[in-house]
């Protein structure tokens, strides 16, 4: 139900006027039928089939899903799966507010973070799947890798995936994590979290990948690996780990504090047993996350 309160949150923050909200809500309803796009995206239907169903909708008063099922293009199960996948309402609403010029994308991003954080909804959505599903997926990851599963690691990765979706893009594929004793670095940023739980986090990527990663994160076109790119990677880690601290406090009443992120200048890193590596592939290259997380 939290989605429905996003509009009133923005009003309360005096970000938008009630007229703009009304206009955006009207647009949300207009842009509601996106099942066809989702079906194409999932590979269940091809564009011509979607066009055909849309055409048929002008002839009979039926929903897209109903017609698609009648025509044998989708099964009932696929329709419910796609409906579940649909963009959360508040994101659609936010997008419509951007479309009408009430806010820009950066503001939307910031208000969503603030809204979720204010409502303790930080670990809510990953590609609009249920969080239980994501947790199971991450746990399976660890089992496949024969790594010890800890609730903290699962939470860490769940949040990381959320943050990648939010700040970098959802076009990534995480590979199975694996234990690591030695790692040759590229451009590596590390950040320690101290407190009741030990956590050392590192993100590593080749310089050219860092340029793309930073460009997406900051929404600027960087063309060389400069100080701004380097700082952007540190800022990403800082933001991610900061959110993790909030989650740890909310979920486990464990208080941690952040040390400043720093560039790890070692050519080769050596670790103990508890460190794992998670490779994440983006179209522009692969990033590696190295995490050591455990009770003191």
């Amino acid at each position: 139900m939290f989605s429905q309160f996003f509009g009133s949150y923005l009003l309360r923050k005096e970000v938008i006027t009630s007229e703009q909200l009304a206009e955006a809500i009207a647009k949300v309803n207009e842009s509601h039928i996106k099942l066809g796009t989702l079906a194409i995206h999932s590979g269940y239907m091809i564009a011509t089939e979607v066009d055909e169903v849309c055409y048929l909708q002008t002839r009979e008063d039926k929903r897209f899903g109903e017609i698609a099922v009648e025509r044998g293009y989708l099964t009932e199960e696929q329709v419910s799966e796609l409906l579940q996948k649909q963009t959360p309402y508040y994101l659609l609403l936010g997008q419509c507010l951007v479309d009408i010029g009430a806010i820009d994308n950066t503001e939307l991003q910031n208000y969503i973070i603030d809204y979720e954080s204010e409502n303790e909804l930080i670990d809510m959505d990953l590609s609009y799947e249920s969080t239980d599903k994501i947790k199971q997926m991450i746990e399976r990851f660890f089992m496949v890798a024969e790594l010890e599963v800890s609730d903290y690691s699962v939470m860490y990765l769940e949040l990381l995936f959320n943050n990648l979706v939010r700040f970098i893009g959802d076009d990534f594929t995480p590979l199975t994590p694996f234990p690591c004793s030695e790692y040759p670095t590229n451009y590596c940023v590390s950040q320690k979290l101290s407190g009741q739980v030990n956590c050392e986090s590192r993100i590593d990527m080749p310089k050219e990948v860092a340029v793309e990663f930073a460009s997406r994160f900051i929404n600027e076109d960087f063309d060389e690996f400069d100080d701004y790119v380097q700082a952007s990677i540190e800022d990403f880690m800082n933001l991610h780990n900061g959110l993790f601290i909030v989650n740890m406090s909310n979920s486990y009443s464990i208080e941690l504090s952040l040390e400043p992120p720093a560039v790890d200048a070692h050519d080769v890193l050596e670790f103990n047993d508890s460190t794992f590596i998670l490779p994440i592939i983006y179209p522009f290259g692969t990033i590696h996350l190295l995490v050591s997380l455990g009770d003191k």
């Binding site: 910031n110 603030d114 780990n241 900061g242």
Partner: protein
């Protein structure tokens, strides 16, 4: 538009400093920026330049922002210290506010929030 104001921006991230300076520059006030990248530099630069306003990141090397805020305010209780708080640093933010920091902005930055804070403390029409 009035006299040039001096603003000290202290953050260990050059990107964060750039973003903050870009935001502050949009407030319609003529600003001369001074930059530092750790808490100790913040204290030293404050004493040297006596800026009209100070923005301090909380998580910084050598000396964190909350400690730097406390030291600046001890030497000049009228200092206008604004904390730039990342998510996850609520306790340090609370300490800084208790030590006398006048306000805070949340990172990632929101232009309107930055404008509001700058105009509230530096004036301007």
């Amino acid at each position: 538009m009035g006299f040039t104001k001096k603003v000290l921006v202290c953050d260990d991230s050059i990107m964060a400093r750039k973003q903050l300076k870009d935001n502050i520059s949009q407030c319609g006030i003529e600003i001369e920026f001074i930059e530092g990248n750790n808490g100790q530099e913040a204290v030293d630069l404050y004493n040297e330049h006596k800026p009209d306003m100070v923005f301090l990141d909380i998580v910084m090397p050598e000396k964190d922002g909350a400690t730097a805020a406390k030291e600046i305010l001890e030497s000049d209780p009228n200092a206008i210290v604004i904390m730039a708080s990342s998510i996850g640093t609520q306790q340090q933010l609370k300490n800084a506010i208790e030590a006398g920091a006048k306000d805070f902005i949340q990172k990632p930055l929101d232009l309107e929030q930055v404008k509001k804070v700058v105009l509230a403390h530096l004036g301007g029409e």
